[in-house]
C-alpha cells in the first residue's frame, strides 16, 4: 500500500459492535490529465527542452494515479485537443510548446498549428490549465479566466532556457506542475515553481555563472498565476465506509449520478479486498456522502433484520462524529 493510499484509509473502531468493522475511506474520482506536448523537427525549444520536460510530468502523473491522455508530437493537433477535452473532460490541462499572446500552439504534420486560442478558449472553462510556453499569460490566460477557466498558470513574456542547463530549467518549469499533480492548491503550486526558480538561481550563482542565472530570474519573473488561487486540480473526495460483517445489496446509487464517476477499492483486511463498485450496490461499501450530498443511500427494506439495529447504531455514531 502506498503512502497516499494509507493516508486515504483510516480505520475507525466501533468497539461496541463486535461483528462489524468499519474502514473510513476518502474516495477520489478519477484524476484526468490532458498533456499536450509537440516536438517539431529542428525546433530547439521542443527538441531540447519542453518535450522531454513534459515526459517527466507524464511519468509523475502516472505514478500518482492520474489517467493521462498524452497528445504528443503530431497527435497534438487542434482537432485532437478539442475532441479530447470534450471527450475525457480533464481536470487539468498541461501544455508544453510554443505560445503567443493569444495562442497555445500544437502540431500537425511536423508543423506548428494553433491548438488553443481565443476562438476555442471556452474549452478551458472549469479546468486548471498550466502551460510552459511563451507569452500566453499576457492574453489567452486572462481571456480563459473571463471565459470560466478555474486557474491559469503560464508565462507573460518569452520563456527560455540556457543550453547545457536545460534539465535544470526543466525541473524548475515542472515544479509547479508536479505540485498540481500532488493535488496542492494552485497558489502552493505557483509558489513551488517560484521556489524552484530561486533554488536554481542560487545554484548557478554559486557556480559563478551569473549570466545563465539571470535567465532564471527572467523566467521566474514572467511566471504568473491567474484566476482562483485556492483551487486544486484533483476532484473532491468522497468519504466512504467499507465494512465487514454485513451482507451486500443494501445500498443503491441515487438517480442522476453517472456511475463512472465513482471507483471504490476496499483493501487489505476486508473480505473483498479489491472491489470496483462503479456506484452499484456492492457487498462491502457504504458511501457516506460527497460534497454535493448523499451519493448512495441505504435501502432499509433490503437490510436483514438481524443487522438493522447495529447498522442504525453505526450510522448514528457516524452522524455524531460529523
Amino acid at each position: 500500500m502506498t503512502e497516499m493510499e494509507k493516508a486515504d484509509l483510516e480505520k475507525i473502531s466501533y468497539t461496541d459492535i463486535s461483528s462489524i468493522s468499519i474502514h473510513k475511506m476518502f474516495l477520489r474520482r478519477k484524476k484526468k490529465l490532458l498533456l499536450i506536448r509537440p516536438r517539431i523537427p529542428g525546433d530547439g525549444y521542443t527538441e531540447l527542452g519542453s518535450y522531454d520536460w513534459a515526459g517527466l510530468v507524464k511519468q509523475k502523473a502516472l505514478d500518482l494515479g492520474w489517467e493521462v491522455t498524452d497528445l504528443a508530437i503530431n497527435d497534438a493537433t487542434r482537432e485532437n485537443v478539442e475532441s479530447k477535452i470534450n471527450e475525457i473532460k480533464p481536470n487539468l490541462i498541461m501544455h508544453y510548446d510554443h505560445g503567443g499572446s493569444f495562442t497555445l500552439w500544437g502540431q500537425e504534420a511536423n508543423a506548428l498549428e494553433p491548438a488553443l486560442d481565443s476562438t476555442n478558449v471556452g474549452l478551458l472553462a472549469n479546468r486548471i490549465t498550466s502551460t510552459v510556453s511563451c507569452d500566453s499569460a499576457s492574453g489567452l490566460g486572462p481571456l480563459a479566466i473571463t471565459n470560466g477557466a478555474t486557474s491559469y498558470l503560464g508565462y507573460d513574456e518569452h520563456h527560455g532556457f540556457v543550453i547545457g542547463y536545460q534539465d535544470r530549467f526543466g525541473e524548475a518549469s515542472n515544479a509547479a506542475n508536479y505540485a498540481l499533480l500532488e493535488c496542492k492548491s494552485v497558489e502552493d503550486a505557483y509558489q513551488e515553481g517560484i521556489d524552484a526558480y530561486n533554488d536554481l538561481y542560487n545554484d548557478l550563482i554559486a557556480t559563478g555563472d551569473i549570466f545563465a542565472a539571470n535567465w532564471v530570474l527572467h523566467d521566474r519573473d514572467c511566471f504568473v498565476l491567474l484566476g482562483s488561487t485556492d483551487a486544486d486540480a484533483c476532484p473532491p473526495a468522497l468519504i466512504v465506509h467499507c465494512r465487514t460483517g454485513l451482507p451486500g445489496s443494501i445500498i443503491r446509487c441515487k438517480v442522476g449520478l453517472p456511475d463512472s464517476m465513482i471507483e471504490i477499492h476496499c483493501r487489505s483486511g476486508l473480505p473483498d479486498s479489491m472491489i470496483e463498485m462503479e456506484c452499484r450496490a456492492g457487498p462491502n461499501v457504504i458511501i457516506d456522502k460527497c460534497a454535493a450530498g448523499p451519493t448512495i443511500e441505504l435501502v432499509p427494506e433490503r437490510i436483514p433484520q438481524q443487522f438493522k439495529k447495529p447498522l442504525m447504531q453505526l450510522l448514528d455514531q457516524m452522524r455524531m462524529e460529523k
Binding site: 525546433d43 530547439g44 543550453i163 551569473i210 535567465w215
Partner: protein
C-alpha cells in the same frame, strides 16, 4: 527697523485679479541714473509674495552725487532670465529710507512663464534621460561583450540560449544588444534584474 544698511524697499507682488501673493519671483530694486541704473539689491518673494531689500548709500551714490535714490522695481522670473514687470514708468524720485511697493501682475503672464519654465525643465530632463539611456546601453554592450570574451572561443558561436522559437549563440546575443533589438533589450533587462537581485540579497 532699518539695520546696518540704512535703506529698505519692501512690499508684495500679487496677482492682479485676486490679490494672491506670488512666491518665488526675483525682485530687484534699482536706482534710475542718467547713464547706468544702479542695482540696489534683490530678493526672492516669500510664500505670501512679500519681499524686503536692504541697501545703503554706497549702493546708489555715484559721480552725480545722488543724495537720495530714484527707485524703480523690476520683477523677474525665478531663473532671472525673463522680466515679468517693471515700475520704470513710475519712478519714485528722491525716495525715502523706506519705500513700500505693492505690485500687481496679471495672472496669465505668470502662467505663461511657468509653462515656459516647465518646457525648459522637460527638455533638460529628456536630454538627460536620453544621455543616461545611451550611457546605459554602452555599459550593457561592454558587459555582454566582456561576458562573451570569458567563454572559450569555440563556444562563442555555439547555440547558447533558447528563447521561444529562437536559438542564440553568445555572439548573436552580443549583436542583438548592439543593434538594440527586442531580444537585445531583453538581455539588458535580465542584466538589470540580476544586478538588482544580487543587491537585494546583499542587504
Amino acid at each position: 527697523m532699518v539695520g546696518k544698511k540704512g535703506f529698505m524697499v519692501h512690499g508684495k507682488v500679487e496677482e492682479q485679479e485676486d490679490k494672491v501673493g506670488i512666491s518665488g519671483l526675483l525682485v530687484e530694486a534699482l536706482d534710475k541714473d542718467f547713464k547706468y541704473d544702479d542695482r540696489l539689491g534683490s530678493a526672492i518673494t516669500d510664500r505670501d509674495g512679500k519681499f524686503e531689500i536692504r541697501y545703503d548709500e554706497r549702493d546708489f551714490k555715484d559721480a552725480y552725487l545722488d543724495k537720495q535714490p530714484d527707485i524703480f522695481i523690476r520683477i523677474k522670473s525665478p531663473d532671472g532670465r525673463t522680466v515679468l514687470h517693471t515700475t520704470k514708468d513710475k519712478i519714485r524720485y528722491k525716495a525715502g529710507k523706506t519705500e513700500e511697493f505693492i505690485i500687481d501682475i496679471p495672472k496669465n503672464s505668470i502662467e505663461k512663464e511657468d509653462e515656459k519654465l516647465e518646457e525648459k525643465r522637460d527638455e533638460k530632463y529628456r536630454k538627460r534621460v536620453k544621455e543616461e539611456a545611451e550611457l546605459k546601453k554602452q555599459l550593457i554592450r561592454e558587459e555582454v561583450e566582456e561576458w562573451m570574451n570569458t567563454l572559450p572561443a569555440e563556444k562563442r558561436d555555439e547555440p547558447y540560449l533558447v528563447l521561444g522559437a529562437d536559438v542564440f549563440t553568445p555572439r548573436q546575443l552580443v549583436d542583438e544588444v548592439k543593434k538594440d533589438t527586442e531580444i537585445g533589450r531583453m538581455v539588458a533587462k535580465t542584466l538589470d534584474k540580476g544586478r538588482l537581485e544580487l543587491a537585494r540579497r546583499k542587504r
